[in-house]
Symmetry: D3
Subunit: 113 residues, 6 copies
């Protein structure tokens, strides 16, 4: 994985721990649930991460997109599958998703090295 | 399919035709593209419709949700797969998606008859 | 103007007055400002109403769209101009604007009678 | 409470139960969490319901607004407090919240009878 | 207050003045109104700033969040109250608010020094 | 044009080409359509770029705003017209657009040199 994305993931982890250390039970429950919904089930983990990716894209959340890109890459999503998922997000969410798509392709390229 | 959803689809079709009759080339191109991105490719049509469903749910578009629900049902999505896709949309988009989820479960029930 | 849109405008007026009767100065100031920004100035009232229309479309607010449609119609916007403004909103905001565009074309048709 | 709002609450309850009957553990956990965050704590239940109301207003979710309006009414929120909370939502979220504010004032009036 | 937040506030002030210098009366009126709705009234300034914070969080506006965090800190909001307000925003707005919550906790920590 | 905006446009172009090189036909079609809707027609290119600007502002997309600002500047939009278009976006979209408006005025100033 590229250095930038590796650092992104470490920083993300560090900040999540800082939040969870606050010992707010409801926030902890949300974080646990946020992990649980992406676990392999009737739908594969790969499909679920793609759902998380497209959801993040249409809501235009760069950090969420970067995270799910790393996950779908690990799940074995190919370039063609990536293109197709992105094109759905683009058509659903419109041209305002394009700046995020530019950054998503940058991240995908780094993840593909 | 239930009568309500059948009527929804016919009304949707009728209105789309009214728009396309206006002969605005750019709007026609968008509608063509909106069909094209969901076609079977590297990702299955089933996965693509699920992506459209979750994108529609987090953006809280009831008509879009109803349409994609009919599509995923036809694509053979099971109850468990439906539950899992919805739960991702719920966690990504938050409690403001819940009224749409209530209506989605109603529609799903009608589609399942 | 069609009966439905005439009733929409009357109901809108009635409810606005109920809100303004509450004598909350800040809400009154907002309503006054909401009228002021659309007044003829360096940009024409027609252009301003089109800006309000496209803003309302990409934010997917049906009541706002209906209101601005009546305004742009009165300002003399033609069918071709309407089509072009809508196509910008569609491309910027994506396919989730389509259900609102269907309703906008219905309203436009009623306004054109 | 008005008949309309009473029916809204019953229908909401009925549909929530239909969703929870599906026995999807993650959706059940989200619903439980959605109840938990509004419980009296360091912040009063009244303040929390006002936070839910303004969050729902700026995200323009009518069903969520109706629900929180019933809750803040029960928590003893006065007309002036209601006006002030709404005016914050209006300024933060802009004129596209106005159709929802119109409906909120209708609901508030029904709740006040 | 931390140096970063102090600079944020100064830069914000400087840019606001640049906008207001343009002498556009409607923009000036909006800015005045944006100040007015948070002033102590039937609801306390503290409650109002919390409403502004949660509104900003669910709409995912980092600059707005930073601003309201400084305000709620000054209004004497405790760590527990902060946690509870954030947890409502998280549940209402979903996991896409999490990157903003990470940054909010960073800012809160700096404000608490 | 200022150096920063010139670099923004070059980087934007470079990234668009990287995306289009991927040879995903649907994404290419969207990009072509995104160019087509702003072309001079029944509405002038100037009006269309203003529509794109206000749409981008209420959806709070900084890159989109910067792009359309360069376009409206080239189309001969004056300071007063710019102020009026921004004030519509501000009223429609609310105070959460203000951070984007601050940046828009910065960009406008650079474009005006």
């Amino acid at each position: 994985m590229s250095k930038r994305i590796d650092e992104f993931k470490k920083e993300r982890e560090r900040l999540n721990e800082a939040i969870l250390d606050r010992d707010n039970r409801n926030i902890q429950r949300f974080f646990a649930l946020d992990g649980a919904v992406y676990r392999e089930g009737a739908l594969s983990a790969k499909t679920k991460e793609l759902l998380g990716l497209v959801g993040s894209l249409v809501l235009r959340c760069d950090d969420c997109i970067t995270y799910h890109l790393a996950q779908v890459k690990e799940a074995g999503v190919t370039d063609e599958e990536f293109d197709e998922a992105i094109s759905i997000g683009l058509v659903v969410g419109g041209s305002i998703t394009i700046p995020h798509i530019r950054r998503a392709y940058q991240t995908w390229k780094e993840l593909s090295k």
